[in-house]
Structures are given as C-alpha cells and as structure tokens.
C-alpha cells in the first residue's frame, strides 16, 4: 500500500501511533517529561471513553429513559435508583458527602455479599468438586484415558492442592520466636505446597511474558509496516 493509497487520516493516524510508541519506548532509557505527557494524554482519553460508554449504555437506557417513559406509581419505583444516584453525586462535595454514604454502604454490603456468595458458589465448591472428580473412574474410562496415568496425575493434583492450602496455615503453637514454629509435619507439607505454588507462578509468569512479547511485536511490526508504506510511497 503506497503513500498515496493512504488517506490523510490514515497518514496522520500512523504518524501519531509511531510517535507515541517511540515516546513510550523511551522509558527504557529512563523517566522523562514526554513520557509523562503521553501518560496524561492516555489517562484523559480513557476517562473520556468511559464517560461516553457509561452514558450510552447505562445512564440513558437504564436510568433516564425509564423515568421519562414511566407513568403513575411506576414512576416512584423507577425513580428511586435515580434519586439515590443523585445522592451519590453528593460525594463530589466534601460538605455534603455524608449524603452519599448510605448509598455507598449499600454498594459495600451488596459487594461483600457478592464476594462471599461468589467465592463459596463460584470458587470454593467448584474447585473442591473438580479435585474430587479427578478420581471418577467412570469418567476416566469414558474419556478413553489411561486409567493409571489419570490416577497418578489426580493424586499429584490432590497432594498439590492440599499442601499448597496448608502452606497458608497461619497459626502456630507457643511463641513465634523462631522462624518456623509450625509442627514438623505441617512445615514439611507447607514446603511441598510452596513448591507447587511456585510452579504455578512460573507457568503464569511465562504466559505474561508471551502476552507482553506479542504486544511488543504488534507495535514494532505496525511501525515497520507504516515506515515501509512511507518509504515505498516516495
């Protein structure tokens, strides 16, 4: 694609992208004023997009339009969220911020319940069930897996899950003078658990590097393609 095929918008866009990418890469050398400038541009843009998305997707369809379209008693029920939302706006003024505290308390209460309920229903029980199901011989046979290998793997996961859970055990008997005060079997189990945890972190860490590497490659390849199109254009 030569320079002339590029519209003005694409040309300016490409130059903008090239510039901000090089400024961000200048952070390798060290912190500098231009890098901070780009960070502020980025924070401002993100806030702008969020304001527009929230307005289009939540405020208008779920808050304002129902109030405008509601009649009679329905207006009261539909208007309540709007009223409490206006109380939340009081948080912006220190003198009246106390008006918004009840709504914030409501959000904290609902959030705490969602966290507790989600943790029990969505994490603790499913993980316990998944570990138990590793020893479901019928399912293993149904998946045509090698039963022995599956049981070995299941046992490793069982031991790893329980030992890494034991690693977090906090209570110790007597004064915590010396570093390890837990009983010997607990300490041994915790050290095995720490090994499993570290392996999990290693796998995740490599994945994060791969994702970051892909982002770096995308930036560099878009820069080289853009420069090629500029050079090819002349």
């Amino acid at each position: 694609m030569s320079l002339f095929d590029l519209g003005a918008a694409d040309l300016i866009g490409g130059l903008l992208g090239l510039a901000v990418t090089l400024v961000v890469f200048s952070h390798f050398i060290g912190d500098n004023a231009v890098f901070r400038l780009v960070l502020h541009i980025f924070i401002g843009m993100s806030a702008g997009y969020i304001a527009v998305v929230v307005a289009y997707n939540v405020l208008w369809p779920k808050l304002l339009r129902p109030v405008l379209e509601a009649e009679g008693w329905e207006l009261l029920w539909v208007g309540l969220p709007l009223f409490f939302s206006l109380l939340l706006f009081a948080r912006l003024f220190p003198r009246y911020s106390i008006l918004g505290s009840p709504v914030l308390a409501f959000v904290v209460g609902v959030g705490a319940a969602a966290a507790v309920g989600g943790a029990v229903v969505g994490v603790l029980f499913p993980q316990v069930r998944a570990t138990i199901n590793l020893f479901d011989l019928d399912a293993i046979r149904q998946n045509q897996e090698n039963v022995n290998l599956a049981l070995v793997n299941g046992s490793i996961i069982l031991v790893g899950t329980i030992s890494s859970l034991a690693y977090f055990h906090f209570g110790v008997r007597g004064k915590a003078g010396s570093k390890t005060q837990r009983s010997t079997w607990m300490e041994w189990l915790a050290q095995v658990g720490q090994g499993f945890i570290v392996i999990a972190f290693g796998m995740i860490f490599a994945g994060i590097y791969a994702a970051a590497l892909a982002a770096l490659i995308e930036r560099l390849s878009s820069i080289t393609r853009f420069i090629y199109s500029l050079v090819a254009g002349f």
């Binding site: 960070l39 911020s97 029980f125 690693y167 055990h169 994060i208 970051a212």
Partner: protein
Amino acid sequence: MNAISLAGIIFLALFAGLIAYFARFKPGSSPSSLRDIPAFSRIRRGIGLAVEAGQQLHLALGHGGIADFKGGSGLVGLSLLERIARAASNSDRPPVATSGEASLAFLSQDTFKSVYRLMYSESQYDPEAGQLTGLTPFSYAAGAILVASDPQVSTNLFSGHFGSEIGLILDAAEQNDSLTSGGSDDLQAQAILYAAAQEPLVGEELYAAGAYLQVNPYHLASVRAQDIMRWVLAGGILVGAVLKAFGLI
C-alpha cells in the same frame, strides 16, 4: 434448596460463628501466635522509616470494584490503609492511596477522614490523599506510575485487584529504589509480584494483613477461623476423593 446451597449455608454459618467466637471469647491470642511472615515485618518497618524520614508511603488499592467479586482484596487494602493512616498521620508527608475505581477512591477518602477524626486532627485531612488516578486498568497504572516514581515516596504497598499492569508500577518503584511489598487476589498479579517485588505476599497471606498489623481483634479472629475452615476443606477433598475412587459418591 439444593445440596450446594445447603452446604454453602452450613459453611458460612460455621465460618461466621468461628469469627465471632474467637473475637468475642478468645481475643487473648496476639500476632505472636501467628507464623512469621517477613513481608509484614518489612511493611511495619517501612511504615516507621517513612514516618521517621519524613518520606511518603504509597498504598496502591488496585481497580477491583467494591460492588463485584473483585472487591474482596480492595476491602483488605482499606483495612491496611486505616492502620497505616493511624501510624503515619503525624508524619511530615501523610500516606497517599491510589485506586482505579470510584467507590474505592471514595472509601479511601472516608478511611482517611475517620482516622483523622479519631486523632482529633480533622483539619489535616486532605481529600487528595485518596486519589483516583485512572478508570481503566492501564490508565490506573499510568497514574500510579507517576506517584510511585516520586522521589519522596520510600515505600510502595500493593493490596487489591490488579492485572499484569502491576508490573509497570513495580518497574517505576524499582527505578525509584523504594521498598515494594504486597499481594493481590489476581493470579497474574501474584506471579509478577513474586518475581519483581522485594517482599511479596502469596495468595491468602494478603488477607491476613489486618491480623499481622493488628487493625482490630476481628482480623485475628478471622485468620484463626480461616485456619480451621482450611482443614475442613482439605478434609472434604480427601474424603471426597476416596469415596469417589471407590464409586461411593
């Protein structure tokens, strides 16, 4: 009501009962009855050094919304903030808390205000201490980079929901030669903290911060309740696995 709901209710009732029991009837135990976690002693010393040297302490609360599942670690961060604000309220440079979500930012400002009211120095309260630095994960990290790379900041603590962008804040803190410590509920953030922070908190250790830094007796009680419930889960897994292997369930 199905079996899962019933098990859930029993589990939560037992958990809440243990917390109330340990807090009400056996408050005697102290942090010394907990295993040694070096990160917390470094955090305590970091708070002291920051106050003594007149430098600033930065607590990053992440961008986990309070209203949803990711808010758990943010709430732990708010308890930590209350303890830090109490210790550092008379320092030359009071601590600063950055967050990437509006409800977290308002709650951190509330925490500062109630601590200063407790210390009868409400005039010192500065709303800027609880900063909202950005509204998406990476724009929050961009704002937190600007705070972490301030030469006056000597200690950076992380307690909240983060993603991989926590690496950018750790990078800025490391270039500023300041102490980095903390934890998160997100696995990606924990993996980066494990590799890059000087004193990482692994997994559940973050949730024991209130007990180790003695925020209030309920934190110590809930850590002891967690220890018991941990072995209830472990026992359940073991028994379940054996019964499943023998086809009994």
